[in-house]
Every structure is written in structure tokens, then in C-alpha cells.
Amino acid sequence: MSEHGVVIIGAGQAAAQAVLSLRTEGYEGPIRMIGDEPQPPYQRPPLSKKFLAGEIGFDRVELKPAEFYASAGCELLLSTRVAAIERPKKLVLTGDGREIAYDKLIIATGSRVREINVPGFDLEGVHYLRSVGDVHDIQSHFKPGAKLVVVGGGYIGLEVAAVAKKNGIEVTVLETADRVMARVVDPIVSTFYERIHRAEGVVIRTGVTVDGFEGEGGRVTRVVSGEGESFPCDFVVVGIGIIPNTELAAAAGITVENGIVVDECGRTSDPDIYAAGDCSNHPNGIYGRRLRLESVHNAIEQGKAVAATLTGKEKPYNQVPWFWSDQYDLKLQIAGLSTGYTQAVVRGDPEHGRSFAVFYLKDGVLVAVDAVNRAPEFMMAKLLIAKHAKLDPTRLADETINMKEVANA
């Protein structure tokens, strides 16, 4: 492998990590990275946090300075969409008609926002938040007293609500489920975040479905619910989840099942093609099942694993997933996946305080933690989850027992 080298489709966190790791692992051949956005790889998590708040600029969000890629011998093809992968000829076809040959291909196409399919979806002022451009569009509405309706009470929606509220905007969050963050946390955590947001002055409405957007002169002015209510607004941010970008892989005949299927080293069903990040579906030994994760940690670690494999080493990826969310002064750190838990154990006082943890046990074994301003609980749980630790719920809940001692029965 040297003539055409490595081609990476996608220019996000997994792609950037793959470039860095390929070079640190000693790969010396050419690398080409193809991305459909105008910017070189940047971090997405701050987009709904400090970057939206205007506390940091793009220079603090980009992963590497633009010069890095040239110095690392990586050619960047930005604002370029890929139309197809032609596996028999080992070519990537771009939307503008170029053919790019590869010896090894990494698919790191990430994910895109799930769009809301209701009347008025195309009115001006209806936004999503996924890219730097989206943030600039949303920020153009940030005027004190402006009215924002957030559709979706997940991480993105609630982070946007927190930032907007701090900017003097009147915020209403509409969530279809009967509580916020219903897909990922226990009701204890949902209730806590609803209390915090309401105390900050955000209106949280659960059990509300969005039936459509209405406007005047092509601009959105209200959100209409299926229950017949009307919510006046100057702008809307929709955060109802993301969809992995697997179409290119599927069209090329690569195995896709809820993500591009890879092994723990990032190999797809084609020996010359690898996948990493949000778009992939990998086996996780700790949970004994396949996972498709939407997280920076997953993108970085898979980027590393693929780079190692491409340079003839095996560094299988098998870790406890983790995530975080910043809202107001609260740092939520999540380790593990709570799916199928049989018991939730609370440490601290979520009803009155601003710092607590919820441990998720499955038949006594720790599988996940949600830690709000509780770094010890998060850090210790991450280690214990990897060990399949069976824990005594009474000790977990007892704050007089240090987290370091909690596993000692």
C-alpha cells in the first residue's frame, strides 16, 4: 500500500484522529480527507455549549490549525461531497465528477440531523444544530426578549435552551415524551433537569407533539401542537436526534445494520475499507453486544483503532462508553449504557441539590452512571463498569462511604 494511500471520507473527529494516529503509528504514504463542510475538522460538542454562547471562537473549536494537515502530508478536499464508492476499481467518486483512487478507504461520514416532517418545516427561522454554519444562523436571532421554541428535550435541545436563556431569550421546550431526556436517563434525572430549567425560567412542556409551523411572510411565528395549542416564537431549534450516514456504504454493498458493521479493529465487510465514529456499529466486549454510539470518545477511539490496523498493529477498541452535557453550572457525565437496568440507586439529593449521581444496576452489576457535578462517582463508576462489579446498593447510596471504598464489601 503506497501508491494511492489512504482516503478518508468525512472530516470530523474520527477522521482527524485517524490522520494523527496514522502518522504517529508510522504510516508514511499519502492521505486524502474528503469533507462536505467548508472547514477542516472541528469539535461538535462545544457547538451547543460554549461556542453557541459566544464564549469561544472557531479557533478554539477546530481540532488542529489548518496548516497541520499540510505538515502531516494530508490533502484536504473540503466542500466536497462523495457520490459513490466504486469498490471493484477502488475509486471514490465525488459529486463534482472527480475520481479519487484509494488503496485503503476509511468511512468516517458521521451522522446528520433527523429532520422534522411537518407542514411549515421549510419556513425561515426553523433551525437545526449540527454545524458551525447552523450555530451562526441560530445566533443571528439572539436578541434579548426574542422568543425561542425548542423542539425536542434531549441533550441538544436542553443545552440550546440553557445558552439561549442566559442570553435573555424567552425559551419554551416541547417534548413528545412524558419527560425530558427520556431515551437516555432515569426519571430521577429527567425530573431534576426539568426542575433546574424551570427555576431558570425556561418553560418545559412534556407530552406535546408538534403538528406544524406557521408563519408570516415566509418566517416562522408559531409552533402548533397536535393537542391544539399554539406557541408563538421568533425562531425554532429542532433537536430530535441524528441519523448515521451509511448510505454510501450500503450502496457500495458493504454490510450495514444499524450502522456500518465493523469489528473491534474497525474493519468492514470489505478488507480494504474501514469505518469509524457515529456511522459505524461495533462489537463491545464489556456489554457483550453490538453498539452504534454517537459520541466523541467513540469517534476518537475508533479512529485510533483503524489507524493501528492499517499500520499492521492490532489495538482493538473495547471501552466503557462515556458522554457529557453542560447546562448552566451543571456538568452531567455519563459512563456506560443503562439499557435494561433493573435498579436505579441515588447518591445525593436530586430533589433539592445541584449535585448527585444515579447508578444503574442490572441484577446487581453496575452498568451505567449519570453523575451531575460528581466527578468521583463518574470516574470510579467508569472503572467498576469495565470490571462488571457487583455492588451493594446500600453502600452506593451511603455518602459517608468514599467512592474509592464503595466496592469493598
Partner: protein
């Protein structure tokens, strides 16, 4: 600019001019210094940017906030002179600082 020397676990040194206001983590990550992962990009959420700071420099650093303190307390390779480099901003009085990276951030 603040001159920062990053020392890898095996002794290899990287001296970087870090713009004032950037963190020592950013100085390393943006200049391809290996040994600092910084998975969370500086949100004090992951503890993968730990460095060891020699005693003569420790006193010049701002005090640790609770979050940093507790994250470090639970890091595998943590020592009394450990800091999270995402929480240290480059300033004039840190010019010439040397920090050492652990064998692994995980």
C-alpha cells in the same frame, strides 16, 4: 507567547510557543505533541490531559477547582503534582514552564 516544554514519558522534549489565553492542553494538541489526548476538548470532563508539574512551577499555577481536583483524585496515574492541562492557561508568569506527560492517559 509563553514558552512551554512538554516532556514525553520517554524523555522526548517538545518546546512550543503557546499563545497567551490558550490552555497548555491546546498548546500540545494543536502542535502535534503526543501524550495528551484531551478527548473532551477542554471541558474538564474526561481527565485525559493530565500532566505532572515540577514543584518550582506548581505554586505559580492557579488553584485547582473542585472538578479538576476530584477528577485527578480518580486518575490511574495521578500524583500529588498532577494537573489537568486543559485547566491551565498560558500566561506571562508561566513562560519557560516544563510539564511531563504520564505513560498513558487511560
Amino acid at each position: 507567547m509563553t514558552k512551554v516544554t512538554y516532556v514525553e514519558h520517554d524523555g522526548k522534549e517538545h518546546t512550543i510557543e503557546v499563545a497567551e489565553g490558550l490552555t497548555l492542553m491546546e498548546g500540545a494538541v494543536k502542535n502535534m505533541v503526543p501524550g495528551i489526548d484531551a478527548d473532551c476538548g477542554g471541558a474538564c470532563a474526561c481527565a485525559t490531559c493530565m500532566v505532572y508539574v515540577p514543584e518550582e512551577w506548581l505554586a505559580k499555577l492557579p488553584a485547582k477547582e473542585d472538578m479538576e481536583e476530584t477528577m485527578l483524585d480518580f486518575c490511574e496515574h495521578s500524583q500529588p503534582n498532577s494537573r489537568l492541562s486543559c485547566q491551565i492557561k498560558a500566561t506571562k508568569n508561566l513562560d519557560g514552564i516544563r510539564v511531563t506527560m504520564p505513560e498513558s492517559q487511560h
